[in-house]
């Protein structure tokens, strides 16, 4: 993501410079239709007749079916993918998501969203009867003051679901409650393991 952001910044700068220069050239060309700019013909300065001569042939091939058109289509798809990546880099949030636990006059206490998931997962794994835990999904409110953690754990056939559920809550609730987070704990039967145990 960091690399994508840096690339997006660089491309943004180069693209903006190119667009600005082209815009200046086109503007001058339009201006020259009203007022003569003498020998400083913007279309000549931008070498537009040369560009037309060079790419005109390619554009004609592009319009007709054939290998050039296929190549152009692949290029177009690549351009769309790169464009989407750059958009993500440009529009993606640069601020890390933080849970605001305290925000008082003498300072605050903040916890990273990713760290919350790690903590909940580490505690869930330790609950008796839990065989596996999917990475918890942490969703924070825009203000960062409230949040919701979804935990999906798997259990073996023994002990019963209620016992495992209570054990998970016993481990996870002391983590979530002091931080003002709501927990959604779901415990499901680990079917491959249960089948193995049964055979």
């Amino acid at each position: 993501m960091l690399l994508l952001k840096a690339l997006a910044r660089l491309v943004e700068l180069l693209l903006m410079t190119a667009i600005a220069l082209t815009g200046l050239g086109v503007g001058l060309y339009c201006f020259s239709l009203l007022i003569s700019l003498g020998p400083a013909r913007p279309d000549r300065l931008l070498h537009l007749p040369v560009v037309r001569a060079r790419i005109g042939h390619f554009l004609a091939q592009l319009a007709a079916p054939g290998p050039t058109a296929t190549l152009a289509m692949l290029g177009g798809i690549a351009a769309v993918v790169i464009g989407l990546g750059l958009l993500v880099g440009l529009l993606g949030s640069r601020r890390e998501r933080l849970l605001v636990v305290e925000d008082g006059g003498d300072g605050g206490l903040y916890v990273r969203q990713r760290t919350l998931g790690q903590m909940v997962r580490a505690e869930t794994v330790l609950a008796p009867g839990v065989t596996a835990v999917k990475r918890p999904k942490v969703r924070l409110a825009r203000s960062g003051r409230r949040g919701h953690v979804k935990v999906l754990a798997a259990r073996g056939s023994d002990p019963d679901p209620g016992t495992v559920d209570a054990a998970v809550h016993e481990r996870v609730d002391p983590v979530l409650e002091p931080l003002g987070l709501r927990g959604d704990v779901r415990v499901r039967l680990d079917e491959p393991r249960a089948a193995k145990e049964a055979s």
Partner: protein, 112 residues
């Protein structure tokens, strides 16, 4: 504004180093985190203290912010302990602190 002499660390750097050492001495704190791109630092005079940011507060004193990597412990209690320890150490060293902000950047699961 009075500038520190050549060779002497700036007050901000000295305070950042003090806050770092104080935080690391507390049970439950494993390390300090320099943040995304290693930009969460206090730097000056060719030196830097990673994971601590010290800024002069508008109302006087310093705003200190720390990014901690800690063990799986009660975070509120740990943050209070770190805050009190940093304030106490800074006061002894002659610094006045305005705020101490703590961000839990990562946790280390030692049972894994």
């Amino acid at each position: 504004m009075e500038q520190p002499g050549r060779g002497a660390p700036s007050p901000r750097l000295a305070l950042a180093a003090l806050a770092r050492d104080t935080a690391l001495a507390i049970d439950g704190v494993v390390a300090l985190d320099a943040g995304i791109g290693g930009l969460f630092v206090t730097a000056g005079g060719g030196e830097s203290v990673a994971g601590v940011r010290c800024l002069a507060a508008p109302e006087g004193g310093y705003d200190v912010a720390l990014r901690l990597v800690c063990r799986l412990v009660a975070l509120r209690v740990l943050a209070d302990t770190v805050r009190q320890a940093v304030i106490a150490a800074a006061t002894v060293a002659g610094f006045q602190l305005s705020t101490v902000t703590i961000t839990i950047a990562d946790v280390v699961d030692e049972t894994a």
